[in-house]
């Protein structure tokens, strides 16, 4: 029983991190109908930004509260900028082209980032994973029985940060003028433009927002994993994408539910079956969901109009 509880806690902690990344996929898909393949790799770049900042701050400063805030701020702002650049120079010129071109571009960017960061030329970090500094010193906060159920402080902190960011996003999308414009663009971007909504700016801002969220999530993941590597974006990104599809891509609460589900499923596979099967299970789960409910759990299968 206590083992089950422990797996539940770990699964939820992993799921909240997937949720933050999944939200980025879902938001961009919502406004552009584009699967931003490069999302996970933007996240990876953000984690390296945070890594560099942590080193610049030094061992003492990175563990203080303001140090953590600076690390998150640098990574999130840096990623927002990267997201803006990618949107401006790679996706925007292709917006009226067939969807396949944008998809290929996204795959290309993803590949260029994840393998570009594996080079060891100049400032690039090289292929081998690096230890991410312990910006949150791990300690056990809540223990049931004799270490039967353990909750780590970073699990609680990352849960709180993730929930906070999600609440902020929910407020932004449903309670602000920007959110209203975003929903309008998502509904029909041509009509939205006719109504005087600056669609280009809204789409750029959506990209920046999703990239910043990804950077935050990536840092939480790196803290959990205590490592950072150029390929983390590919894997975390794919898992998060799977989560978004399971919840119904384009649907904000769906992404969160899908991510929590995926986190739990993975945790139970690792806990009760074999950890080597973890990656296969995520995709098996995806194919299963698509077979049963092609639009995802909360998605609607929209009839294509001509």
């Amino acid at each position: 029983m206590s083992q089950l509880l422990q797996h539940l806690i770990n699964g939820l902690a992993a799921g909240t991190i997937y949720a933050l990344v999944a939200l980025g996929y879902t938001m961009v898909y919502g406004v552009l109908k584009l699967i931003n393949f490069a999302h996970g790799d933007v996240m990876m770049v953000g984690v390296y930004m945070g890594y560099a900042t942590a080193f610049a701050l030094g061992r003492e400063a990175q563990r203080s509260l303001w140090g953590v805030v600076v690390i998150f701020a640098v990574a999130m702002v840096g990623c927002a900028l990267l997201g803006f650049l990618i949107e401006r120079f790679a996706y925007r010129p292709l917006r009226e082209k067939p969807r396949l071109t944008a998809l290929i571009t996204a795959i290309g960017i993803s590949f260029a980032l994840s393998y570009g960061f594996q080079l060891d030329i100049g400032f690039l970090p090289g292929a081998s994973p690096r230890a991410f500094p312990e910006v949150i010193v791990p300690s056990e906060w809540f223990i049931v029985g004799d270490r039967d159920v353990v909750v780590w402080n970073w699990q609680v902190i990352s849960f709180l940060i993730a929930v906070g960011l999600m609440a902020a996003l929910q407020f932004l999308v449903y309670r602000t003028r920007f959110g209203k414009a975003m929903r309008a663009v998502s509904w029909d971007h041509r009509t939205a433009a006719l109504m005087g909504i600056p669609t280009d700016r809204i789409i750029a801002l959506t990209f920046m927002l999703s990239s910043a969220l990804a950077a935050g999530a990536g840092l939480l993941y790196a803290i959990k994993d205590t490592s950072v590597s150029p390929l983390m974006g590919l894997y975390v990104g794919l898992k998060a994408f799977v989560a978004a599809v399971i919840g119904g891509i384009g649907n904000v609460p769906g992404a969160v539910v899908g991510a929590l589900l995926l986190g739990l499923v993975e945790e139970f596979v690792v806990g009760y079956a074999a950890s080597t099967w973890r990656d296969a299970v995520a995709f098996g789960f995806l194919i299963l969901v698509l077979l049963v409910k092609p639009g995802g759990l909360f998605g609607r299968v929209a009839a294509e109009k001509v």
Partner: protein, 356 residues
């Protein structure tokens, strides 16, 4: 993208070679050449290896082009099907190693067993293609991309967890049955199939799906059926390519069939032109020989070994950037949907004009 209809029509009966012969002619021409090449190359294992790799990549690119180019779907897990073919063919050959068909000379018997192993690999890959394709091809194109990518990962995990496939260490000791002639026999077979599909009513249905799926369905095209069939044919040849690969490399392991390999094939297809069989061939040859050429160039220039080794590393991000630049500047690829014989005469006539 440019309407392929125009090129399809112009491809019909005009031109110097009758359309029925176009597909078979290269085979007839190439078989003696290949037999000669096999004899000449006997002395150079490296040239044999290189030619075999080029051939396998051509099979992969041309077969992927049937799905990504002609049908307009986007599969990025081709290496997964290649892996299925390689492992199944490899295991078949390993278990038949001691078997010989008594009524045949040893060499011939080996080749028969080799073909059996290849077909087993191809069939298993085709079956996997059917299983993966059936659910995902009913969905929109971008889902297919993810599902095929996920499939590639599942294959990798399955192989790594299966004793019979040698886990992470891989399979070694597979008899080296493969020969340049055998590889290019399959190259011509896949090109033949691809060209025959492109010119047939089956192919027109695929083009229709590529251009506008809703319209195609409205015109009575069984879109799911055609997509699944294209996917099965494509996976079959990917499996064959994997089987060939397994029989001329000393060892196959999960590392040979990663996402990187899939991307390599995608880049070949996109660079050559989505929908152009000859484009895929040209791009496959170019992209396979380029790193080799650069490596030996750096080696010959006496650059320190690291630079020659870095060619492999730099290749990957360059592929990514190449895709982005291609999409921005020339989204139809080098040839678009045209074939080499549509493009070449124009180049020649342009040159002639320039001269006079």
């Amino acid at each position: 993208m440019a309407a392929p209809g125009a090129t399809l029509l112009s491809d019909d009966t005009t031109g110097p070679i009758p359309p029925a012969l176009r597909g078979i002619l290269p085979v007839l021409l190439a078989l003696p050449v290949l037999a000669l090449a096999e004899v000449l190359l006997g002395a150079s294992p490296f040239a044999t290896y290189l030619l075999s790799v080029v051939g396998v990549n051509i099979i992969l690119a041309v077969s992927l082009n049937i799905v990504n180019g002609m049908t307009g779907q986007f599969s990025i897990g081709h290496a997964g099907f290649m892996a299925v073919g390689a492992y199944i063919a490899g295991v078949t050959s390993l278990s038949l190693k001691e078997v010989a068909l008594s009524f045949l000379p040893v060499a011939a018997s080996d080749q028969v067993l080799f073909i059996v192993a290849l077909l087993a690999g191809g069939a298993c890959a085709a079956l996997c293609g059917f299983l993966v394709g059936l659910p995902s091809l009913r969905l929109r194109g971008d889902y297919l991309a993810i599902v095929t990518l996920g499939f590639g990962e599942i294959i990798r995990v399955v192989v790594q967890n299966t004793e019979a496939f040698g886990r992470a260490l891989g399979l070694s000791g597979i008899p080296q049955y493969s020969s340049v002639a055998m590889v290019y026999f399959w190259v011509f077979l896949v090109v033949l199939v691809a060209r025959r599909i492109a010119g047939s009513s089956h192919g027109r249905s695929l083009w229709a799906i590529r251009e506008d799926e809703v319209a195609a369905e409205a015109m009575g095209v069984d879109t799911t059926g055609y997509k699944v069939r294209a996917f099965v044919i494509s996976s079959f040849f990917a499996g064959i390519a994997g089987g060939l690969f397994a029989h001329f490399v000393p060892i196959i392991n999960p590392g040979s069939f990663t996402f990187v390999k899939s991307m390599e094939i995608v880049v070949m297809v996109v660079l050559g032109g989505l929908g152009s069989t000859t484009g895929a061939i040209v791009a496959a040859i170019f992209l396979t020989l380029l790193p080799e050429g650069l490596r030996s160039l750096f080696g010959a220039l006496g650059a320190e070994g690291s630079l020659a080794q870095k060619v492999d590393q730099i290749r990957m991000p360059v592929y990514g950037i190449l895709l982005v630049v291609l999409m921005l500047l020339r989204p139809q690829g080098l040839f678009g949907t045209k074939e080499l014989w549509d493009v070449l005469p124009r180049w020649f006539s342009r040159k002639k004009k320039g001269l006079t």
